[in-house]
Amino acid sequence: MAYSDKVLDHYENPRNVGTLDKNDPQVGTGMVGAPACGDVMKLQIKVNESGIIEDAKFKTYGCGSAIASSSLVTEWLKGKTLDQAAEIKNSAIAEELALPPVKIHCSVLAEDAIKAAVADLKSKQPA
């Protein structure tokens, strides 16, 4: 499988690997995928008082494209509001990383992870 340079770069030097405290009310956690499918993504975002994402961390079990997709979105998420975050589309991830058709599901998974993290954070915050 030939990977794009961008995928290889994120795979070799993944950005924002790590874990935030999932019990922190300012932290939202999204875990998507399943080991049986060959990929599991955990994405965490932390918002400040003004509702801006100030930190994002990920851990991913999956192929190089899955690791690159989640690494890329942690970069994109920082500085965004939750509503802006929820607008990130898998097609933009796939385009940025030049994912081949067989790896499009990795970008879908990353989009799902963002949505799950945002939903988790919203559920924690008072309406």
């Binding site: 990977y3 875990m31 049986a36 060959g38 599991v40 955990k42 851990k59 079990y61 999956g62 899955a66």
Partner: protein, 405 residues
């Protein structure tokens, strides 16, 4: 010490042609180019003699009569010819049921599937968790109309050696034609077809330091086994397989099998030491699992699952070594290895497996480099793995409800 990367540890996929084999082949491409079927001049006679000497060598490695060896293009063709050829020849008298095993090579499984489409029925036996066939379960699968059984000698993914003698004896008692795919066995295990109760056996050259594109099928003469030809034409190979014989390929296979016969014992011992060194090194990593029985196994193969690490990312991480992943992502179908699934391995373990296969040109430096590389890369990928983190937190992953996508 210098190590040339990528290090080739995929000898079960194919082997390089031994330089001694290549040297012997070359004159049969250029000078001795005659058609072995040409009876009217010395060009043909020279080629025919070379073909027959090679046939002798192939027969000698497996203690068969040269007249029992039929040239084919490789093990896939041999499997097709044996299974389709015998099933069709004997179905009228015996019946239309076939027994095989879930961990067979696709060249056997898909051939049997094709026969199912033509009206045969088939039983695909599940192996035990160690990869071996349970003889009682094999007996229980036999029906009055069972015409043929096909069980591989050495598994290509996990290297386990089936008890071919015992399975063959059961087939004899029940008047079942027994075919064995021995593509991964030549030069690795002793094969004595005078003693083994096997009717048909498939071979190829390129797993045993010969060239690709040439193989053979053993067809027993006593008692005589009949097969229907699958390739029709000039009636070569006593009508069982038509087509002009590729003299240089055949010469290569003969020389490769001659060297295997002479050097097998010493080579297996050397390879076993390297494999054991590799295993000992890799077992220093947490959460590694050997796939397949370690006792009934060729020394060349080590198939290991690295828990909590995904197979394709692992292959990317270890690009300095040429190995195979049990995860078929690399072939664009996101499926874990069907062989490991048949052993009852979880999807996670099946996905995170690597087959290391060692061979004639592997050195101790290669093995030591591989151990160090694996230790560092597994550590790095586990740092990235949410599953590893959950495992360290004491979470039982089998109890998690995954949001499958």
């Amino acid at each position: 010490m210098t190590v040339h990367t990528p290090i080739y540890l995929d000898y079960s996929a194919t082997t390089p042609v031994d330089p001694r084999v290549a040297e012997k082949m070359i004159p049969y491409i250029t000078e001795h180019f005659g058609n072995p079927a040409s009876r009217s001049h010395p060009f043909g006679w020279t080629a025919e003699q070379a073909v027959e000497e090679a046939r002798d060598e192939v027969a000698k490695l497996v203690n068969a009569d040269p007249r029992e060896i039929v040239w084919t293009s490789g093990a896939t063709e041999s499997n097709n010819l044996a299974i389709k050829g015998a099933a069709n020849f004997y179905s009228g008298t015996k019946g239309k049921h076939i027994i095989t095993v879930q961990t067979e090579h696709k060249a056997v499984i898909d051939t049997v599937r094709e026969l199912e489409r033509q009206g045969f029925t088939a039983t695909y036996l599940a192996p035990e968790p160690n990869g071996l066939v349970d003889l009682e379960k094999f007996k229980a699968a036999i029906r009055p109309d069972t015409v043929l059984a096909s069980v591989m000698f050495v598994n290509n993914e996990i290297g386990v050696i089936q008890d071919i003698e015992a399975i063959g004896n059961i087939c004899r008692e029940n008047n079942i034609i027994f075919h064995v795919d021995a593509a991964q066995a030549t030069g690795k295990v002793d094969i004595d077809l005078e003693k083994l109760p096997v009717d048909l056996m498939s071979f190829c050259a390129h797993k045993t330091y010969g060239p690709k594109g040439i193989g053979a099928l053993y067809v027993r003469r006593k008692p005589r086994i009949r097969i229907e030809a699958q390739m029709h034409g000039g009636g070569h190979e006593r009508g069982m397989r038509s087509g002009t014989l590729p003299t240089h390929q055949i010469v290569g296979m003969g020389e490769a099998f001659r060297l295997a016969r002479l050097e097998m014992k010493a080579e297996n011992e050397r390879v076993r030491q390297l494999r054991d060194r590799l295993l000992a090194g890799l077992q220093e990593i947490d959460e590694v699992y050997v796939n397949g029985d370690m006792e009934h196994r060729v020394p060349h193969n080590l198939n290991i699952s690295f828990n909590f690490v995904e197979g394709e990312s692992l292959i990317m991480a270890v690009k300095d070594i040429a190995v195979s992943s049990g995860s078929a992502c690399t072939s664009a179908s996101l499926e874990p290895s069907y062989v490991l699934r048949a052993l009852g391995r979880s999807d996670e373990l099946a996905h995170s497996s690597i087959r290391f296969s060692i061979g004639r040109f592997t050195t101790q430096e290669d093995v030591d480099y591989t151990i160090a590389l694996m230790k560092s890369k597994i550590g790095k990928l586990r740092e990235l793995s949410p599953l590893w983190e959950m495992h360290l937190d004491g979470i039982d992953l089998s109890k998690v409800e995954w949001a499958a996508h």
